[in-house]
């Protein structure tokens, strides 16, 4: 067990290191990022001054080493555009992103878990098929299309909901729905399959044979056992999907979070921000994955008891 956790953690650290390295060299591969940002028409002296200002002097290896050292010391560089530490810029954005992520996760779980259970219990009737068809729609429609049609209907035609920003509770409605579409589709499928697995188990038959009421059987014996699988899926797959959806949805609704920041940075080519933002979000996903892995192992006696 300890070995399993250690191995997962080592793998996580290696992955984080590889991500940082790849992002760094990708940024430098395209030539000097500062030159692309500033464009032509700079005197050589000014250019030198800029390079020193942003700490980009020396060979690529020297830069790499100083970048790594910076990461360890908490010095992540300055934004080309805003001339402020990127860590500060990204930190300001984390709150709104987490709010949107939180509301989307709540909506996703509240909708997808009951739907998945219903689909599993009615797998051979039209109810089950209807739920799965709904999940299919969620998968097939890109979230920017959902967002666009929602804006068209609720903001411009009906004038019910605001489009830009995150000021009030009303501002949460459209971004949350747009972000949850794919997540609900995915989680519904997983919940259904996990429930189907559990429903076929012997202990379910035993529970029924004991004379327990059907709701207790389904909720206490069924859902609780399927829940472990569902939670692990939530951590492993949904984290990545949410990070991707975040970028698009925040950009559409001008939500002041990390996703919107990254799209802006990509368009104006503010590399330090983009670099740090991509590293932050990727690392968050990798860490969530590793933690989920470990929690899953802790929760599952078959892995917990296994040697190694």
């Amino acid at each position: 067990m300890t070995l399993y956790i250690l191995r997962t953690l080592v793998k996580m650290v290696v992955t984080l290191f590889v991500i940082v390295t790849l992002v760094f060299f990708a940024t430098r591969l395209s030539g000097s990022p500062l030159d692309t940002f500033l464009g032509e028409g700079l005197t050589p002296e000014d250019r030198e001054a800029m390079i020193r200002y942003f700490g980009l002097e020396g060979s690529i290896w020297q830069q790499y080493v100083s970048y790594l050292r910076g990461l360890l010391e908490g010095n992540f560089g300055l934004s080309f555009l805003e001339r402020r530490p990127v860590a500060q810029i990204v930190a300001e954005r984390i709150g709104p992103s987490l709010q949107l992520l939180g509301s989307s996760l709540v909506l996703t779980i509240c909708v997808a878990v009951p739907l998945g259970v219903i689909a599993a219990l009615n797998r051979s009737s039209w109810v089950g098929s209807a739920v799965m068809a709904l999940a299919f729609v969620g998968y097939a429609v890109p979230n920017f299309v959902i967002a666009t049609f929602m804006v068209l209907l609720f903001a411009f035609t009906l004038n019910w909901l605001p489009v830009v920003g995150n000021g009030t509770a009303l501002h949460f409605i459209m971004p949350t729905i747009a972000m949850s579409g794919v997540l609900i589709a995915a989680l519904t499928r997983f919940t259904r399959n996990a429930m189907l697995d559990v429903l076929g188990q012997d202990f379910m038959r035993t529970a029924r044979a004991k004379g327990l009421p059907e709701t207790v059987v389904i909720l206490k014996h069924g859902l609780r056992n399927a829940g472990v699988t569902v939670l692990s899926v939530l951590g492993l797959q949904i984290a990545g999907m949410a990070a991707a959806g975040n970028v698009v949805v925040e950009a559409i609704f001008s939500w002041p979070g990390i996703g919107e920041l990254l799209v802006k940075a990509a368009i104006v080519r503010d590399y330090p921000v983009l670099q740090f933002g991509v590293i932050t979000v990727s690392c968050a996903v990798v860490v969530i994955n590793a933690v989920t892995d470990i929690l899953y192992a802790v929760a599952d006696p078959r892995i917990r008891m296994a040697k190694g």
């Binding site: 797998r123 990254l262 990509a266 368009i267």
Partner: protein, 294 residues
């Protein structure tokens, strides 16, 4: 080895496929074929040059609405360009890009998966490590980074789409290769002196075609979504060339006055992803019992 009663018929005729399909699958097939034909013959069908601007016929609504201008069936955009013609050419580019991207992904991922499956040791470890990495990092972020670094050109876009789904092919091919190479006929081929390359091409490859076809179809829809999303954000192909996604993106600014500018391409995107996913699921159910959705 599990014994299966379902024998996938190689080269089943299109007619039998059609007869076995249910209503939704038939509809998806018809929509898919129509979209492909529209894309192929866009230059012949489009009533106008998609780039031709006309300032006197700006923001005209589609047929049946007030201020409709004759000939512009689906209205015009902010520069007086015909929305129908632009959508047809956008569809052409979107489908073309997705197809190219999926083919690159198939070739790269398939080759790496084959190598990982046939050769053990460091080659396999490296490839599977890369697969894990690709799965761990949200690809939209990688795409943002690449497009910002190398600029938004057609070539860069194709490369981004190409590396978007390679890891799926690599996993499938490696797993299938593992399974097949344990079968007696491969041993026989090896015993009679076949080299690794000969065995890979003549014995292994033909046997993993059907899962690859299924994955290819399913990945097409993901790639269309990725491309549309990036173009929508303004990071894709640059104007005046348009894909369906960038038409939705630019049309957004005119949404209150000209909703047709976003609706037409958005509906086309939904039609593509819907029909492709339904066809992909159908192929999967037919091609392989093991992959069959419950």
């Amino acid at each position: 080895m599990t014994v299966s009663t379902h024998i996938p018929t190689r080269g089943a005729s299109l007619m039998t496929l059609w007869r076995e399909a249910d209503g939704i699958q038939k509809a998806a097939a018809l929509i898919g074929v129509t979209l492909v034909l529209l894309a192929l013959f866009a230059p012949l069908i489009a009533p106008f040059d998609p780039l031709k601007q006309s300032l006197i016929s700006r923001l005209r609504p589609p047929m049946g609405f007030e201020r409709y201008k004759d000939g512009f069936f689906l209205g015009t955009d902010e520069l007086g360009r015909d929305v129908l013609s632009r959508s047809l050419f956008g569809l052409r580019l979107t489908l073309g890009l997705a197809l190219l991207g999926a083919i690159i992904g198939l070739l790269v991922g398939g080759t790496l998966g084959l190598v990982a499956g046939l050769r053990r040791g460091w080659a396999e470890d490296t490839i599977m490590g890369a697969v894990d990495l690709q799965i761990a990092v949200p690809f939209t972020l990688v795409a943002l980074l690449i497009l910002a670094l190398f600029g938004s050109s057609l070539t860069v876009m194709i490369c981004v789409l190409g590396i978007a789904g390679w890891e799926q092919y690599a996993r499938i091919v490696r797993a299938e290769v593992r399974k097949i190479t344990e079968l007696p006929f491969i041993e026989a081929a090896r015993a009679s002196g076949g080299g690794p390359r000969y065995i890979a091409l003549t014995h292994v490859l033909p046997n993993i075609v059907s899962p690859l076809v299924v994955q290819f179809t399913l990945s097409l829809s993901n790639i269309v979504i990725l491309e549309s999303t990036l173009s929508f954000l303004g990071l894709g192909v640059q104007p005046p060339t348009a894909t369906l996604g960038s038409m939705v993106g630019y049309g957004r600014d005119y949404m209150p006055t000209a909703p047709w500018m976003v609706s037409v391409p958005a509906v086309l995107i939904i039609l593509i992803t819907f029909s492709v996913q339904i066809l992909g699921d159908w192929l999967r159910d037919r091609a392989d019992v093991r992959l069959r959705a419950r």
